[in-house]
Amino acid sequence: MSLDFGLMLEKLPEILAGLWVTIWVWVVATALGAALGFLVAAARRYGPPPVDWLLRLLVEILRGTPFLVQLFLLYFGGPFVGLRLEPIPAGLIGLTVYAGAYFSEIFRAGFDAVPRGHVEAAQCVGLSRSQILRRILLPEMTMLVLPQCVNMAILLIKETAILSIITVPEMTMVIGAIGSQQYAFADAMFLLALFYWVLVEICGLLGRIAEARLSKFRFAA
């Protein structure tokens, strides 16, 4: 390895700053994306048919194009329609919208997977629509979609690396820059890969623990 670890240690504040950007952008985009996805899934289920068609088209477009192209369209194309964004807000908005499309599909499948009998039984005992949503659909759905949501969150950690291309100062960009300065780009990338690997494994572990903890709420199908 030609990477100077002494120099690397000197750059520790920069590296930690990059790690921080990666983590907060990831957490915020995942949380907002999940909320957006839930709203989209609910609007498609309970809204009038044209809303469903329109949202379906948007979701299919977002799922059928590369995230990088969406990001370029927003960041480089945005200024031509009066939407001039700094890298971090552009990355955050792009990642949230992208995540929202995938989360909406997870939630849509979740809504569909709740047994009809449970909803019918709730209707029979006179629960209102909002009660059915709060007491039956949401709790049962949460258990059904949790594994996919954990998967999606892990996928999104990895997508944050793409934000470096529009110069969001997250881990990939910071460590890449340090590697270039020291003419040891390959070593820096190796270190970076290990970083992400650990992060993703930790996230997967937490997800499995959460699933095990919550499994007592799982209904018998």
Binding site: I61, L68, E159, F185, M189, A193, Y196
Partner: protein
């Protein structure tokens, strides 16, 4: 956009399709080997396979590509950037495909294998006639899904300088100063490609279902 520029975009879209297809086929081959190693009772085989799958699924593709692109010259192998890109895409998709295949092989009903044992089929015959065909049918939807993921992920090889669809859009957007137009066209072409693959996949699944066990 002039016809000439649109032709360039179409050509680049074709390049994206070719590179993705090559990577998926190579990835399927490596994925099969990794899957076999992972399913092996020998820990000397299964442990490296587990590490391989975990690493290539746990590291962002962009970082894998930058690593491979810069590592190969560092160890004295100089290859064109497109080769580094195909290596990166293939290794990444191999890890995912190995997991899909493992799922498929594990879902082959035990009763079928017991029945095959009873009628005296050798392990090789069982693999050829029962496990592999059924596992293939079970993994087909995941394979189509993976193909679409790789088509989209191939946009990242623009970063190591391969002139595929995204890079072409980037170049033309910069030289004509019309990013909105070129990124929209690129997006539309990706959509057409992905929807075609999804449609073809649905058709293949229907055909594979004929004569289902």
């Amino acid at each position: 956009m002039s016809l000439r520029l649109f032709e360039l975009m179409l050509w680049a879209a074709g390049y994206t399709v070719v590179i993705s297809a090559i990577s998926i086929v190579i990835g399927l081959g490596i994925g099969l080997l990794v899957c076999a190693a992972k399913l092996s009772p020998n820990r000397l085989l299964s442990l490296p396979a587990t590490l391989f799958i975990s690493f290539f699924r746990g590291v962002p593709l962009l970082v894998q590509l930058l690593l491979i692109y810069n590592l190969l010259p560092a160890v004295g192998i100089s290859v064109p950037s497109v080769v580094a890109a195909v290596v990166g895409l293939s290794l990444c998709t191999a890890a995912y495909q190995a997991e899909n295949l493992r799922g498929g092989f594990n879902s082959v009903p035990k009763g079928l294998l017991e029945a095959a044992d009873m009628v005296g089929l050798t392990p090789w015959q069982q693999l050829k006639r029962i496990r592999a065909p059924i596992a293939f049918r079970l993994t087909l939807p995941a394979l189509v899904n993976e193909a679409i993921l790789i088509l989209k992920a191939s946009s990242l090889i623009s970063v190591v300088g391969v002139i595929e669809l995204t890079r072409m859009a980037q170049n033309l957007a910069a030289s004509t100063y019309k990013p909105l137009l070129f990124y929209s066209v690129a997006g539309a072409l990706y959509l057409v490609i992905c929807w075609t693959v999804a449609g073809g996949g649905a058709l293949a699944e229907r055909m594979a279902r004929v004569g289902r066990a």
